[in-house]
Assembly symmetry: C2
């Protein structure tokens, strides 16, 4: 049987650095655990634009469709700010999500014990926090038509369209309920059904999927603005949150920041099962390309490493190895090892990106 | 000269209770400061639906257009959850905003010194916090067409449209820059220009208004997801934030919660100047109708009272009286007077809604 295949798209900014540490870990699994992967690499984002004039070449897109998992670093940087919308680095990422049909974006917001003090929230509010935000990723206002900037009378108007079909809502709802069953068995669905008809349909369909297929899971509904508030007030009230593409973008970033562990948080974007039974999948850290610290060996590779742990769990049926890798990260943090982003002002010397990777491998 | 006119729409839930305290204060101003208002009252929201079958009667709408200021309590309650979208309590509020053309929604997120411990954030993160969120309130996805739930093939699709014209962006940007000049002279504009064309137009127009009319004000741009993060991380970096209707809904609620003073926060919704030079205006607390505690004398009237202070400032040219009222609220808080929502578990006895109002009047 051939090895499972991985396509690495390290991207821009700190992407290549943090992905460098993941490559070390992939090699470690091949050497030490007899778990080998066929790894190929390619470009996405600004670096792809620099080479090909497009943030995602068609050949790269085709490769992404073939592999068992894509690992992505980060895209974007100030040198691309003035590019036309259609070739901005982000379009490469959005094209991957859309064409691979990765409709279910899993964003854990977890607070690492060793880092609870690092949150802007009080320790008791975040210590032990472990929630999962399931964000719809292939529809909604990110992709709806009509869209664009149009002339109208003597001025211009900017238009985007929020658009959700019943089946789009159903499949992401299912994915949230399935996850909840393996966790705290609670789902909270968020929309603005008091203002938006698309939110009314969202609420109705999530409720129907619950009532017909997942009555054993506890379901509640919350308006997204109240959801933002409750996340800031007492995030531990939540287990799984399911929401649309745009609300998910804001709410998951807020939740990530609350944990104080932003440089730590991974994500998985999953599609429908392929022939081999595995979902199409892309894994990426929640943080961005951080151009201000790129190339200095300062970046925290943990989010990218934990994204690979999610790949082990969701794409490669290696739940035990995922646990092992996550435990190694926790151990290193508990030992007080810190990259520069994690330093409070206590005179601890930060380790480099690569030292952090080495420590994690040592802990494995 | 006739007295300035006020239309009170107390609405549902705790609305009438908290508005009762504002009425006492209005009377106090007439008796003690020779500052009298012509006050009329009417219905909005669920109570208007119960009486008229619509959450805002045309006659009420007409009255709102005539007065110098509308004071609104809150709308909504579980008994109205199953009403048709078109007659839900919220539609009454949205109709007022739209037909009065109240495009600039001012939402201060302020942390009261006496309450800094009450936030879920660490004290140094919120103590002294004073930011102003300017939310566009009459356009965007709240009102854009097409909207609705439609049949498509063999399923339904929910559609809403985000839509901003240049002039809509211009006028709210101006309102943010004007405010900034009277505060910290800094504006941060938030959108998703990396994903939405309407965000590209937003960014471009805000920048142009800045470059042509407000070069003295410091302007920055941030993606709304990063904005949500930064609000949670270090909100004091902001002075004035300007953003669209939907982002403003989530971001201002998150910011309000961060202060720990949610039951305390007022808002002003302002339109273009009327013949008398005053803007059309509606004032309302940021909190909702809190049906769970309605009618029990437990509600905190401070947000509603501070909304009246904003009315004194923005509609009645009584900045000094607004300061006086705000100082009275701070004094009462500093004295340790607390409604039930503000109690940490320290054995302080809560005061009732009406006692809180009386204490504030005493402090005046
Ligand atoms: C980079 C950007 C297009 C993207 C998004 O808005 O989805 C990012 O913010 C994210 O959350 O993954
Ligand atoms: C009640 C609701 C329609 C309203 C909104 O979404 O604007 C509320 O959340 C607000 O922020 O004033």
């Amino acid at each position: 049987m051939s090895n499972p295949s991985i396509l690495i798209l390290a991207g821009d900014g700190i992407g290549p650095e943090v992905m460098g540490e993941v490559k070390k870990i992939i090699n470690w699994y091949g050497d030490k655990r007899d778990l080998s992967f066929d790894v190929s690499e390619d470009l996405v984002g600004g670096c792809a634009y620099d080479k090909h004039g497009t943030p995602l070449h068609d050949d790269t897109m085709a490769k992404a469709q073939e592999v068992d998992a894509v690992l992505l670093g980060a895209v974007g940087g100030p040198q691309y700010d003035d590019l036309d919308f259609s070739v901005k680095p982000e379009r490469g990422l959005l094209r991957l999500r859309k064409e691979m049909d990765l409709y279910s974006n899993l964003r854990p917001a977890q607070c690492f014990d060793a880092l609870a003090d690092f949150s802007s929230l009080k320790k008791d509010v975040v210590a032990g926090l472990d929630i999962m935000i399931v964000r719809e990723l292939t529809s909604g206002i990110y992709f709806g038509e009509p869209r664009g900037i149009f002339e109208e009378g003597n001025e211009r108007v900017g238009i985007n369209t929020q658009r959700y079909t019943e089946s789009e809502i159903e499949r992401v709802a299912r994915s949230a309920f399935e996850l909840a069953r393996r966790r705290g068995n609670k789902v909270c669905s968020m929309e603005k059904a008091n203002v938006m008809e698309s939110g009314i349909l969202w609420r109705e369909v999530v409720q129907r999927v619950h009532d017909t297929e997942y009555q054993d899971v506890e379901l509640s509904h919350m308006y997204a603005d109240a959801g933002a508030m409750q996340l800031c007030r007492w995030p531990k009230q939540f287990d799984v949150i399911v929401t649309d593409n745009l609300f998910g973008d804001l709410l998951s970033d807020a939740a990530a920041m609350l944990t104080g562990s932003l440089g730590m948080l991974p994500s998985a974007s999953l599609g429908a099962p392929m022939e081999n039974g595995r979902p199409k999948a892309l894994y990426e850290p929640v943080h961005g390309s951080a151009p201000d610290i790129a190339g200095q060996g300062k970046a925290n590779p943990i989010a990218c490493i934990l994204s690979f742990a999610m790949a082990l769990r969701y794409s490669f049926d290696q739940g035990a190895e995922a646990d092992r890798l996550e435990a190694a990260v926790e151990k290193v943090l508990a030992d007080g090892v810190r990259t520069a982003d994690l330093l409070a002002d206590e005179g601890v010397t930060p380790v480099s990106t690569s030292e952090m990777g080495d420590k994690i491998i040592a802990a494995l």
